[in-house]
């Protein structure tokens, strides 16, 4: 497994090349890139910050859990922090497996779960201002206050 948080551009081609082995028949790759707009508001750049030690631990656990759960051979999971321009990769997920169903399922589960549980935040700078991006609500078991307590 290759799990990493980096501060420089993610070298997708070499990460993908390194992820393949002879027993693989399928490689599913998810490449999350900075889009030029959010709800049609023009994005200039994004700043990603993380609770770095915890984020790395969480990513390592996710990768290990995905290997176990989907029986894929190997996973690379890399997230970049700092200022990213439009078109740059913020997160790269590479899942290598003998079979394609497991590769797709693991890849999708990884990005979906990462986005809800790994402590990374994004500040979006638009042509007309900057905001911390709305995150997705935490899964119930991770939120500090239960729905009941909020009511």
């Amino acid at each position: 497994m290759h799990v990493e948080i980096v501060d420089t551009p993610i070298e997708s081609a070499s990460i993908v090349a390194a992820a393949k082995a002879d027993s693989d028949g399928a490689v599913c790759i998810f490449d999350g890139i900075v889009r030029d707009n959010t709800r049609r508001r023009q994005t200039l750049y994004l700043d990603y910050e993380a609770y770095r030690e915890m984020a790395l631990e969480q990513m390592q656990r996710l990768a290990a859990e995905a290997v176990e759960r989907f029986r894929v051979r190997d996973i690379s999971l890399v997230h970049r922090l700092g200022r990213l321009q439009v078109g740059e990769t913020s997160v790269l997920i590479v899942v290598a497996s003998a079979h394609r169903g497991a590769a797709f399922d693991a890849c999708r589960w990884l990005i979906d779960t990462l986005k809800k549980t790994v402590p990374i935040w994004k500040r979006e700078t638009f042509a007309d201002g900057a905001v911390w991006a709305d995150g997705e609500p935490f899964p119930e078991h991770l939120a500090a206050r239960s729905a009941e307590a909020q009511g």
Partner: protein, 91 residues
């Protein structure tokens, strides 16, 4: 006892700092800590939803409101996360 608070994202802006040491009574829980911080920032009333939606990590593990804190704990206040790409992707 003393704990170390780390704040991230919008919570960092709200508290005006990324790290702060806080003195708490022995046996204080995560919920007690959140109540104290919420009161300290209550003049910024527009931000109350933030306190309802956050998660807390104690020593880098997600923690419930009922968890009892200990001397020297590192308590991180985590707004809903937004790694990867845009939120609208979830839809």
């Amino acid at each position: 006892m003393q704990v170390k608070i780390l704040a991230f994202g919008v919570l960092k802006d709200l508290l005006g700092t990324a790290t702060v040491q806080l003195q708490l009574a022995q046996g204080a829980t995560v919920a007690d800590l959140l109540r104290i911080l919420e009161q300290q920032t209550s003049n910024l009333s527009m931000q109350t939803h933030v306190w309802q939606s956050l998660a807390v990590a104690v020593n880098r593990e997600y923690s419930s409101a009922s968890a009892v804190l200990r001397e020297g704990d590192e308590v991180a206040l985590l707004p809903p996360v937004s790694g990867g790409l845009g939120r609208r992707d979830a839809r």
